[in-house]
Symmetry: C2
Subunit: 238 residues, 2 copies
């Protein structure tokens, strides 16, 4: 019997924001897979789980995620790297071992899991994979800041922060705009919001759900030192 | 000491998708508030919690949520109804009793909680309110259907389904479009998607997380009997 793979969203950082199902499955599986080689996150995901669940006796597989942009000659090398990662996961499943891939937040929201998912299903179309949703940083940040993302008939847009050129248009057409990983473009975003008279409607949340979380209800007070990889901004038109 | 109010997202229906924090707080508080008089949902929320947690000895407050559109003379009556609901909650808090308002999904995603929130803070600006995020039906439906909502630099739009007139434009500009409560406009949405050659890219999920959940990877097979208040559609451009 081939093992089953679970993709488990472990929430934004606070271990108590894991679901009962996530905890049950992580208790149950003998093997936990964490993506390796990302900017941040892999050891972080494991440390969140460890706060609530002893991992003694479990096999921890650090799977390398080659996320570099593909450019000409690198293509083959990238495929080779991916094959190694896929092999590492399939080896465990082929032994009949169930495994859980853990991901911060929700697997469906900008997680790396789906890069692996497609490649696994390419190799083994009938593989049993179950995705366990998690609290995303978006929902957690809104809760912590005391704002809602949508009410009634409102429209919500979620943008990676590199869509600066269409930000103004999106702000005009949507009631709520969530800007992910806003740290790299913070100053430009703030300028656009000030120009549109919306700077007072924005909240900035850094490292939501983590111990050093910070919430800014006035983005004019955010300094360079407050910018962080795990950061997002919620702009509400009303 | 005034009691504290928690707004607790209990997830989409599967009791195991409650967070550890939600369960801890619901165990802890002596009083649980559920919205009454909504299309569906209040008794449902309570029945989800009851599957995982005995409610014996807790006070259950069914708070009336007057959600009718305000039209001229009805305004005063509506305010009166809201005041009664706000009073019911404040009475418990004033006694020093902590209370938890429970809501299906996530409090920040189209939940009625924020109607109450604003009115409570109007009356008691210093009231202690903590919002506990929950798994929204959007994240749960994506997980169950095996699709992601966003990857890399993709843009996500979430629309209540009554924005038909701008649906085509939104589909052109976003990578993923989530249509909430799509049951009422299903045929028109399907027509628009077929015209845009996107019908094959849509999944329809009815009653996600509930026992009678149904997932349709081909929306052409969805019949009238499959349309449901708790339903949504995810359209992925790729």
């Amino acid at each position: 019997m081939t093992g089953k793979l679970y993709a488990v969203g472990i929430g934004p950082g606070d271990p108590e924001l894991m679901t009962i199902k996530a905890v049950r499955i992580l208790k149950q599986v003998p093997c936990i897979v964490v993506p390796k080689g990302r900017e941040e996150g892999s050891s972080l995901a494991l440390s969140i789980v460890q706060k609530i669940l002893p991992l003694d006796g479990k096999e921890i597989v650090e799977a390398f995620f080659p996320m570099k942009k593909t450019m000409g000659g690198e293509r083959e090398d990238l495929d080779h790297q991916w094959n190694e990662t896929v092999d590492a996961v399939l080896n465990r499943l082929d032994r009949g071992t169930d495994a859980a891939f853990i991901t911060i937040g929700d697997p469906g929201i900008y997680s790396t899991f789906f890069y692996l998912y497609d490649r696994l299903l390419e190799r083994r179309p009938s593989l049993a994979i179950e995705i366990i949703p998690g609290i995303s940083s978006i929902n957690a940040a809104a809760a912590r800041a005391g704002v809602y993302l949508g009410l009634g008939n409102e429209r919500i847009a979620i943008l990676p922060a590199n869509y600066l050129e269409s930000l103004q248009e999106t702000l005009e057409k949507f009631d709520t705009v969530v800007l992910m990983k806003v740290n790299k473009v913070f100053d430009t975003v703030r300028e656009i919001l000030e120009k549109m008279d919306l700077a007072g409607n924005a909240v900035y949340v850094a490292r939501t759900g983590m111990e050093d979380e910070r919430i800014y209800n006035d983005i004019r007070t955010v300094g360079k030192e407050d910018l962080n990889y795990f950061s997002l901004m919620i702009v509400r038109k009303r």
